[in-house]
């Protein structure tokens, strides 16, 4: 008996509706194929503020926050950037609620040397209005820009070397944080790969530290980014985080949210198409019609202008690792859908958003990271697709980049990828050149561009998927050039893609489709229990 979130297509099943960028496409899937849906949203906490207060007063493996405070001490609050959650959360963002309570507590205890750092690592600097959305008007007006600002990983004078792990990983973090008497990290945990030691050891680090684990060698040893115990990346980050925590006084506050990505008018997008009411079906048709007719910026606005009504499902505080255990448990509770048996062909739509294009366009390199990086890795125990299998994705792969946010991506895709797709070669030859590019560094530091090495990291993120998959086929690409550059085949329709995939698949291939977003993870059980063959009737 399969889980209710795993639906097997039969002859009466309605077509499935998958994202193809910022459009919705109806797809007729073969009978017998499975579609995995997200679990319904977990129940949200009724009183989030009470939960925050309880968490900081009853922390795990640490004294309560108030006991750590003394007048005149130097405190740095670091917090997650805009890459979480996706799409951005409806106000008040849970980070605002945590900050409000923490800042009040700090004031009560006479702590006035407080700075809030957005832990962007090498992500783009958040804009003032984006920060205002996350922290709220009151905090923004009181702290921005002198005491509330973005981390700058290229301000080398403001980075401080802490030491090197036994594996040779150099830990260098934001100087203000390192020189503080207390670091309070305010995390919003969207997926299991976030939080824990990643918060401080990655969020406040620079290129010197990042290159220890954001490289093809480590990425190839990750067997699901979303399952920390199977991820060499996580192992490396934990080593670095432990070194940092030995030398620093870190108090971690982590929050988990449910998967209510879509607000009431769009809630049906998370439902099984067979269960849609007539009203919902009509709404879906209307939405598809509208998206087909309006220009791209309007399509983007339809989705991106509507913040998500996420509910907070947990608040945990205290020592980093103890806290993160509870966070992971709650996260898996929301996301993990038990699935029995790997597929030969994995199908997924690629939506319009990734952690790296909030308020901008999902460029081709990010399509790659969504497919080979994030969606491929939404599993525990074993990949959803067999080794050497085929992944079919739906996305237009439009050759379009945001000049302001993704400046270094453009050169990476159009100048570097035509030379080589080999991650090791990119890492050894091209990455150091980009890392020293003063124009891109300037855009990262004073504009709103991602760090010049970020496109390389995006390519490495796809490495685990690329190493595992035999073929990648993209349906609905509006050009041949980009898929070719990424090493993908193209098909005009899903039927054509399935025909192509079946040529290299075993007879009667197992086909699995991810109905995503909202986010879920497949808790894979590799062996499919075969039903016993019925005994022949005697006589």
């Amino acid at each position: 008996m399969s889980h209710p979130c795993v639906v097997t297509i039969d002859s009466r099943s309605a077509p499935r509706v998958l994202f193809s960028g910022d459009r919705l496409v109806e797809v007729d899937l073969p009978t017998g194929s499975r579609v995995v849906y997200p679990k319904p949203p977990l129940k949200a906490l009724k009183d989030v503020d009470a939960a925050i207060r309880y968490a900081i007063n009853h922390p795990y493996n640490s004294e309560p926050l108030y006991a750590k405070l003394r007048p005149g001490m130097k405190v740095t609050i670091a917090m997650d950037d805009i890459s979480l959650p996706l799409p951005p959360m409806r106000r008040p963002d849970v980070r605002e609620r945590v900050l409000t309570i923490v800042l009040d507590l700090l004031a009560d205890y006479g702590v006035d040397d407080v700075e809030i750092i957005i832990a962007t690592s090498v992500h783009r600097r958040m804009k003032d209005w984006e920060i205002r959305h996350v922290v709220g008007d009151k905090i923004f007006n009181a702290y921005w820009p002198k005491k509330l600002y973005n981390h700058d990983a290229e301000n080398l004078a403001n980075m401080k070397y802490l030491g090197t792990t036994e594996e040779g990983e150099e830990v260098e973090l934001n100087r203000r944080a390192v020189e503080s008497d207390l670091i309070i990290y305010v995390n919003l945990n969207l997926v299991p790969m976030d939080g824990g030691h990643k918060s401080v050891a990655v969020g406040l680090c620079g290129y010197r530290s990042l290159r220890a684990h954001h490289n093809p060698r480590v990425m190839r040893q990750c067997y699901s980014y979303m399952d920390p115990k199977s991820s060499a990346l996580n192992t490396s980050v934990v080593r670095m985080g432990r070194l940092a925590n030995k030398k620093l006084n870190v108090f971690t506050i982590e929050t988990t949210i449910n998967n209510r990505m879509f607000d009431t008018p769009l809630e049906f997008l998370a439902k099984n198409e067979d269960d849609l009411t007539r009203t919902e079906r009509n709404a879906l048709h209307a939405l598809r019609f509208t998206l087909d007719k309006v220009p791209q910026p309007a399509r983007q606005a339809i989705f991106q202008r509507v913040p998500s009504p996420y509910g907070v499902t947990g608040v945990f505080a205290g020592e980093t690792e103890a806290v993160h255990e509870h966070t992971l448990r709650r996260s898996f509770e929301q996301y993990c859908v038990p699935v029995v048996g790997q597929s030969d062909i994995l199908i997924t739509g690629i939506p319009y958003i990734s952690p790296y294009n909030v308020n901008s366009f999902l460029n081709p390199l990010l399509v790659q990271v969504m497919a080979n990086g994030y969606l491929f890795n939404l599993y525990r125990n074993a990949p959803m697709v067999k080794k050497g299998g085929t992944m079919i994705i739906m996305h237009p792969c439009t050759d379009l980049f945001d000049n302001e946010h993704h400046a270094p991506y453009i050169e990476f895709v159009h100048r570097v990828l035509p030379e080589t797709r080999d991650a090791m070669e990119l890492h050894k030859i091209w990455e150091p050149k980009f890392a020293k590019n003063p124009a891109y560094i300037e855009m990262y530091r004073y504009g709103h561009a991602y760090h010049p090495t970020h496109p390389f990291f995006m390519w490495y993120w796809g490495e685990a998927g690329r190493q595992h998959l035999g073929r990648m086929i993209v349906v609905g690409a509006d050009n041949e050039y980009i898929p070719q550059l990424l090493g993908w085949e193209t098909a005009r329709t899903m039927d054509e893609a399935l025909r192509m995939a079946k040529q290299t698949a075993p007879p009667n291939p197992e086909i699995m489709t991810l109905h995503c977003p909202p986010i879920f993870m497949a808790e894979m059980q590799v062996e499919k229990q075969r039903a016993p063959i019925a005994a022949l009737p005697e006589g």
């Binding site: 290229e154 080398l156 980049f401 000049n403 302001e404 400046a407 453009i410 050169e411 159009h414 020293k436 590019n437 003063p438 124009a439 891109y440 560094i441 300037e442 855009m443 530091r445 004073y446 504009g447 561009a449």
Partner: protein, 219 residues
């Protein structure tokens, strides 16, 4: 090793060639001399306006005739004062960082400007730049003739001078960077592997967007 070539006026500083020239004109030996110089400059103003739209080289040559008759001592003596009063207050807030980033990455930093060399050397010293490509006045019997020595640093000539400079220092132009605010510097931006637009004018902004050149704002 690479080099970063920076246009100056509008890119690193707010002023243009006219401001320091005007400072010199207004600071002659006597007020009468200054008045005479200013009169001469005003007579040339319409021609300058015409040359500005037609040919940067003619504009430069015409503008620098105002220095004619000034002694070498005066030119050098007033340079520090001109730099302190006219150029230094007009350096863009982010200019030093932009130059420093290039220096941090091990680049030679070269200022390429139509302004006069003795002023540009002071700016280079102030910003930490390693070299200067700038215009030089012809000096005869220790007095400026008002003519520029060849080659006049302007427009397409900038790109030839950059190429020469890169060759003489052993830089691969494909690895070099160039920064400018003006569409008139497209030749200079086009010969390096990494062009960037800084506070670009409208035409350069359109071009930079079309070619995906980095666009940086230091103002």
């Amino acid at each position: 090793m690479a080099a970063s070539y920076f246009d100056v006026d509008g890119t690193l500083i707010r002023t243009n060639l006219v401001h320091p020239t005007l400072y010199y004109v207004l600071n002659q030996n006597t007020p009468l001399h200054s008045l005479a110089k200013l009169g001469g400059a005003l007579v040339k103003a319409p021609w300058l306006a015409w040359a500005e739209t037609r040919d940067r080289r003619i504009f430069n040559e015409l503008l620098f005739t105002s220095y004619g008759g000034m002694s070498e001592d005066r030119l050098v003596g007033l340079a520090v004062e001109t730099f302190e009063r006219v150029i230094k207050p007009n350096i863009y807030p982010g200019a030093r960082d932009l130059v420093q980033t290039s220096l941090d990455k091990g680049h030679d930093v070269v200022l390429v400007s139509g302004a006069l060399d003795f002023l540009m050397r002071l700016l280079a010293e102030h910003l930490g730049a390693t070299d200067v490509i700038a215009n030089r006045l012809e000096i005869k019997d220790r007095f400026a003739t008002g003519k520029l020595l060849r080659p006049v640093v302007a427009g397409p000539e900038k790109s030839r001078l950059i190429r020469e400079h890169a060759r003489s220092r052993g830089h691969d132009l494909d690895e070099c960077f160039a920064y400018s605010d003006s569409y008139s510097d497209v030749p200079m931006l086009s010969i390096v592997g990494h062009p960037a637009a800084v506070n670009p004018d409208r035409k350069l902004s359109l071009l930079a967007n079309a070619y995906h050149w980095p666009i940086i704002h230091v103002d």
